[in-house]
């Protein structure tokens, strides 16, 4: 009996010493980082910007801390020859221990991504046990990455939350941006059959104005940050920006569309009908019988008609079939445009290489090394779209048709 207890005690004690990283730190001794940004300055040094949460100002109302008096976040900037050095320099500016556990946004500047690429800088993020691999990554478009963190935002008190929320909502409601996290970026960087796509974010207005608390004390903000297109990477370097329908095409082929609108021209009138896709499924398949694989993108979309600006007779099933045909044509056109432009960019962001690998691994091995430059741009891609109109909202025919009679 006694021996067992001693043994148990020893085993338990030993586990204490072999355990991994643990460290006691009270919540109020931490500087909670909500977002990080990486820029590069003229001297070629990395500039790391960290956005720290001021808990009392965020929680508001509690213990007399008003959100009106001081900003919800504080931003510090530090420079260094490497990302980690910049980080160490940042610690000398903050009284508390920098804590990355809740940092869920990493902003990379457009300039850095274009010129140097993102491959070199991500290791520091991936290696740190505190930084989450689920942190969202965005590229600052037309602005410095650091400036994106400095601007205060309305509704969402923490700017990082606003960025994440906006990307999330845009992806769900419009399909024009994509939530990409650190894990995804690293995976696509290392994968031969798929290239990286990262959402862009831009700052509208004057950054000096955006830093001030007065900016969010008005109904219309002078300076805002908003979701702005998709950054297309080739081997870790930013090569192109897609906007609007072009970026939606990427999201669509990647089968991440949850809801989006397609606007249709009809009978010579422009933008006469809006169709909302509510469910869709996109499948990509490869035919590798020939030397050059043939890829087929099959889209099946279901949705409602949500806006009609003419006297289309929606009670007529043939009319509906007709609209469906045109929708299919429109979607097909948009997707094909995206594919063509991407082929010109020579960057397989759709993961077509992966599809080929799955259908014919042997052939893929041969093509792997020249895929982006030789094979991908010359691929024949068929787009087949099926669109279905399920409902037409609360009305069938528009009141416009009643007015004519």
């Amino acid at each position: 009996m006694n021996h067992n207890w001693i043994l148990l005690f020893l085993i338990m004690t030993s586990t204490v010493f072999i355990s991994g990283c643990w460290n006691q730190k009270e919540l109020n001794e931490l500087a909670i980082i909500s977002a990080m940004a990486i820029d590069k300055n003229e001297d070629g040094k990395y500039v790391k910007t960290i956005q720290l949460v001021n808990p009392v100002n965020v929680a508001g109302g509690l213990q007399g801390g008003g959100s009106g008096q001081s900003p919800t976040v504080t931003v510090y900037t530090a420079m260094g020859d490497s990302v980690l050095e910049a980080h160490f320099h940042a610690t000398s500016k903050v009284s508390r221990r920098l804590y990355h556990g809740h940092a869920n946004l990493i902003v990379i500047s457009e300039e850095l991504a274009t010129e140097e690429g993102i491959i070199d800088i991500l290791d520091a993020f991936e290696r740190d046990p505190e930084i989450r691999m689920t942190s969202r990554v965005v590229i600052a478009h037309h602005t410095k990455a650091g400036d994106l963190l400095k601007s205060l935002t309305a509704i969402d008190k923490i700017p990082a939350e606003k960025v994440n929320g906006t990307i999330h909502t845009t992806e769900r409601a419009r399909g024009e941006s994509m939530e990409v996290n650190l894990q995804d970026v690293v995976t696509t960087l290392t994968s031969a059959g798929k290239e990286t796509v990262i959402s862009g974010f831009s700052l509208k207005g004057d950054i000096q104005q955006g830093k001030k608390i007065e900016n969010i004390q008005q109904s219309e903000l002078d300076t805002t940050i908003e979701s702005d297109g998709l950054a297309i990477f080739k081997e870790g370097k930013l090569v192109d920006w897609y906007q609007g329908e072009m970026s939606r095409g990427v999201v669509w082929i990647l089968d991440k569309i949850q809801q989006t609108d397609v606007i249709l021209d009809r009978e010579g009138q422009e933008n006469i009908l809006t169709y909302t896709v509510l469910r869709q499924k996109t499948r990509v398949s490869a035919d590798t019988t020939n030397d050059l694989p043939v890829l087929t993108v099959r889209v099946r979309a279901e949705g409602d008609i949500r806006e009609v600006r003419s006297q289309i007779d929606l009670t007529d099933p043939y009319e509906i079939l007709d609209i469906e045909k045109e929708l299919e044509k429109e979607i097909k056109k948009q997707l094909e445009n995206t594919v063509i432009r991407t082929q010109q960019n020579k960057s397989d962001i759709f993961g077509f290489g992966e599809v080929v690998r799955r259908s014919d691994p042997k052939k893929w091995k041969k093509m792997k090394n020249d895929w982006n430059d030789t094979y991908f741009p010359n691929l024949k891609v068929n787009v087949k779209v099926e669109a279905f109109i399920r409902r037409s909202g609360n009305r069938t025919n528009s009141y416009l048709s009643d007015m004519e009679q």
């Binding site: 148990l8 355990s19 643990w22 919540l27 909670i32 909500s34 009392v56 509690l62 213990q63 809740h102």
Partner: protein
């Protein structure tokens, strides 16, 4: 210093021994009752120190009242009505006793004809006579006879059968045991009307001579366990038994544990239910708490009501209780671990809110939790001991101190108050107070380990706790059964409660050979025929208008 204390103690011990010796030498009566009444009365007076509550009523009966007898009883211990009507009155008014008699005849007449009380016995040695007297029987001594007649006239003021205060249920019998052992055993017998319900009694306690009964259902209870209970009870050699807690502490399997290995209940239906499972009940005179052995860990999470409600509801409630027990065990520990080690596990918004609340708190989370827990324990203890009239004061002071002032003063954070109060409420929601106290103690161990090693520490202590629980036995039965060792057919009555009709067998480790508890096909079913079917009479018959 220590040796001085020791010497003093030794001196005291010696003194006590001397007193005992004196008492024994002076008061030791001859073993047998003498024939002279006056001498006997003298002995009783001397033996009881001429206690004023012992009533000696001398009488003279027989022809010319030449035979002296004496009636003795203890004031308050007897039922005055029956002493008056069935002993004193009967003796004085009996025709047979006024004739010419010799003492031997008086004794016979007394026993056979006169004393109109159910339990009557004749004793000849002092030991038995005095015990009978002290337990509320009425003694009749006759001059010239070296025997005493004991009539059971126990009575006097006892608390009536009332509703249980510690084991309340909404559905089910409302009556609870009281302090009288006769009432208590009778209450169980009223539920189990079976000759196989056996009761054995012994007196425990050198001085108190408390009556202790064990009750079991012959044929269901395991003989080995009954024998073990008997052996352990007989082994008790102690001055006094004041409550069943004394017995519990003297017969439990293992003492170095905070977990109770003997169940106790105030409810006759709970005791009856456990007896039917093959358990053994130990009744102690003077307390409403009846012990039940062997006790399993899961017993402490079950209430009588579980079996009265339908199984789905009972199962849901048992799940809730499991959660409650976990909260009361590790509630503050998880909070401490999450806020001081694993901040990444808290959702961002919540982490920020807690950080904001903690901004002005000067203590680490552990100290903060300790302050709150101890404050709460103080309030709880004060609330129990305080006169009822002061109860409202406690609640006001408690609510203000804990709820308002501590937060406003910035000593604790509001989140901590929520955690501690949730834990406190959870510890009250555990059905058994005994296991709730254990959880209360273990909670502090969890808090310390959480403060030193975070969740890792919580898991370590948790493993130790489980190992400890699995090592416990209650009268030889593994404490964690039927979970560990896992017994599949009985696991349905743990955190689940299967339907009554699925209880085909009694617990294997507790009950004896006879394990079948119900017939086949006890599951109720709708009738085969349609009761609502229209009968021809109703269809054709005209309404009876006459």
């Amino acid at each position: 210093m220590f040796s001085f204390l020791k010497r003093k103690n030794q001196k005291n011990d010696r003194k006590i021994q001397e007193i005992n010796n004196q008492n024994q030498s002076n008061n030791r009566p001859p073993n047998l009752i003498e024939s002279s009444l006056s001498k006997n009365l003298e002995v009783i007076k001397q033996k009881t120190g001429n206690s004023s509550d012992i009533i000696i009523r001398p009488l003279k009966i027989g022809h010319n009242s030449q035979i002296k007898i004496a009636i003795l009883y203890v004031k308050g211990m007897v039922d005055n009505q029956s002493v008056q009507d069935f002993v004193i009155d009967s003796i004085m008014n009996n025709q047979n006793l006024s004739e010419k008699l010799i003492p031997q005849e008086v004794l016979e007449i007394l026993i056979e004809d006169v004393v109109a009380v159910g339990g009557i016995k004749v004793v000849s040695d002092w030991e038995k006579l005095l015990t009978a007297l002290m337990s509320g029987e009425t003694i009749t001594l006759i001059d010239g006879i070296s025997k005493g007649v004991c009539a059971s006239t126990q009575g006097g003021q006892r608390r009536s059968v009332q509703e249980s205060t510690t084991d309340v249920s909404i559905r089910g019998s409302k009556e609870a045991f009281n302090e009288s052992i006769e009432t208590n055993t009778a209450m169980v017998r009223r539920i189990i009307n079976n000759t196989d319900l056996w009761v054995e009694s012994i007196n425990i306690g050198k001085i108190t001579k408390t009556e202790v009964s064990i009750m079991y259902i012959n044929g269901i209870a395991k003989n080995e366990i009954i024998e073990e209970v008997r052996k352990r009870l007989k082994g008790i050699d102690i001055d006094g038994i004041l409550e069943s807690g004394y017995i519990e502490q003297l017969i439990e399997d293992q003492t170095n544990t905070t977990f109770p290995t003997i169940y106790h209940s105030e409810r006759p239906d709970t005791v009856a239910g456990n007896l039917l499972e093959g358990k053994i009940a130990i009744f102690v005179n003077g307390t409403p708490f009846v012990l039940l052995v062997p006790a399993l860990f899961i017993d402490f999470f079950q209430s009588a009501e579980d079996y009265y409600e339908r199984f789905d509801i009972a199962t849901a409630i048992r799940f809730l209780r499991t959660v409650i027990f976990f909260i009361s065990l590790v509630g503050p520990a998880i909070y401490i671990a999450a806020t001081t080690f694993h901040q990444e596990m808290i959702p961002t918004e919540l982490a920020i809110i807690i950080a904001a609340q903690r901004e002005s708190v000067p203590f680490p989370a552990f100290i903060e939790a300790l302050i709150m827990e101890i404050t709460f324990e103080i309030l709880r203890e004060a609330g129990i001991r305080m006169p009822k009239a002061m109860g409202s004061t406690i609640s006001i002071v408690g609510a203000l101190v804990i709820g308002q002032a501590a937060i406003q003063a910035g000593i604790v954070s509001p989140a901590m108050v929520i955690v501690v109060s949730l834990t406190a409420i959870a510890s009250f929601a555990t059905p058994s107070y005994a296991v709730a106290i254990s959880a209360r103690l273990v909670r502090f161990i969890f808090m310390v380990s959480a403060a030193t090693f975070g969740f890792y520490g919580i898991i370590l202590v948790f493993i130790m706790l489980i190992v400890h629980l699995c090592s416990l036995r209650s009268f030889g039965v593994p404490y964690m059964s039927p979970l560990a060792p896992f017994i599949r057919e009985e696991a349905g009555d743990t955190i689940f409660r299967r339907p009554i009709w699925a209880y085909k067998k009694r617990p294997r480790l507790i009950s004896g050979q006879n394990r079948v508890s119900q017939g086949e096909d006890q599951k109720p079913q709708p009738p085969r025929t349609r009761i609502m079917k229209n009968t021809t009479n109703v269809e054709k018959g005209e309404p009876n208008e006459s």
